[in-house]
C-alpha cells in the first residue's frame, strides 16, 4: 500500500503562473517531508524539505506547506519558469526509519513559455 500519494500525474502551466503540486501521506510516523526534482536521463535532485514542527518552508520561488492534521503537503512554485519542467517527487521519512524515504509516483510539470 502506497504511503505517499501524488495524484494528478501531470500539470501544464503558463510561464509566470503558479504551479501547485499536492501530496498526501498515510503513515503517522512520517515527520520529515521532501520534494525532489527529476529531469529526463538524470537522477532526482533534492529541492526543498520541511520538518513536521513547521507548517511552511520557503526557498526562493519554492514553498512547501504542511498540514499535519490532513496528512497533506503541497509545493508551490511561483513564478513558474520553463526550466521547472520536470518530474517532481514527494517523499517522506520517519526519524527512526533508517534514513529510508518513501516516494510518491511523481508529477510531471510542463511550463509553457
Amino acid at each position: 500500500d502506497q504511503q505517499v500519494k501524488q495524484n494528478s500525474p501531470s500539470l501544464s502551466v503558463q510561464e509566470g503562473r503558479i504551479s501547485i503540486l499536492n501530496c498526501d501521506y498515510t503513515n503517522s510516523m512520517f515527520d520529515y517531508f521532501l520534494w525532489y526534482k527529476k529531469y529526463p536521463a538524470e537522477g532526482p535532485t533534492f529541492l526543498i524539505s520541511i520538518s513536521s514542527i513547521k507548517d511552511k518552508n520557503e526557498d526562493g520561488r519554492f514553498t512547501v506547506f504542511l498540514n499535519k492534521s490532513a496528512k497533506h503537503l503541497s509545493l508551490h512554485i511561483v513564478p513558474s519558469q520553463p526550466g521547472d519542467s520536470a518530474v517532481y517527487f514527494c517523499a517522506a521519512s520517519a526519524s527512526r526509519g533508517n534514513n529510508r524515504l518513501a516516494f510518491g509516483k511523481g508529477n510531471q510539470v510542463v511550463v509553457i513559455p
Binding site: G43, N98, N99, R100, L101
Partner: protein, 113 residues
C-alpha cells in the same frame, strides 16, 4: 571526482541472464539505496544498506541480490533477469540522519529482452 556514479548507463540483456549494476560513491556515506523507477509506480526501494556488510530489503526485493563489502560500493545483481525487471535503476547515498542529503546517481536503464 567526488560523487556517486552508476555503471553502465544503458544495458540490454536477455531473459535468464545474470546482470550486475554497479554503484560507487566517494563521500563515505553510511547509507546506500537502490531504487527502480517505473511508469505509474514512481520510485520504489529495492534494497538498502546502513553500513558495510549490513543490507536489508525494501519494497520490491524479489529477484535481486545486493552486497556491500566496502562502504563505497553497492552492486545490485539480477540473478536471472526477467522482462518485468526492465526499468531505470537509481542508486543513492546519504549520511546518517541526513535524508535531505540523499544524492542519486544518474541511473542505469536496463532492458531485458
Amino acid at each position: 571526482d567526488a560523487g556517486i556514479t552508476q555503471s553502465p548507463r544503458y544495458k540490454i540483456t536477455e531473459t535468464g541472464r545474470q546482470v550486475t549494476l554497479m554503484c560507487h560513491q566517494t563521500w563515505s556515506h553510511s547509507y546506500m539505496f537502490w531504487y527502480r523507477q517505473d511508469l505509474g509506480h514512481g520510485l520504489r526501494l529495492i534494497y538498502y544498506s546502513a553500513a558495510a556488510d549490513i543490507t536489508d530489503k525494501g519494497e520490491v526485493p524479489d529477484g535481486y541480490v545486493v552486497s556491500r563489502s566496502k562502504t563505497e560500493n553497492f552492486p545490485l545483481t539480477l540473478e536471472s533477469a526477467t522482462r518485468s525487471q526492465t526499468s531505470v535503476y537509481f542508486c543513492a547515498s546519504s549520511d546518517i540522519d541526513r535524508v535531505d542529503g540523499y544524492t542519486f546517481g544518474s541511473g542505469t536503464r536496463l532492458t531485458v529482452v
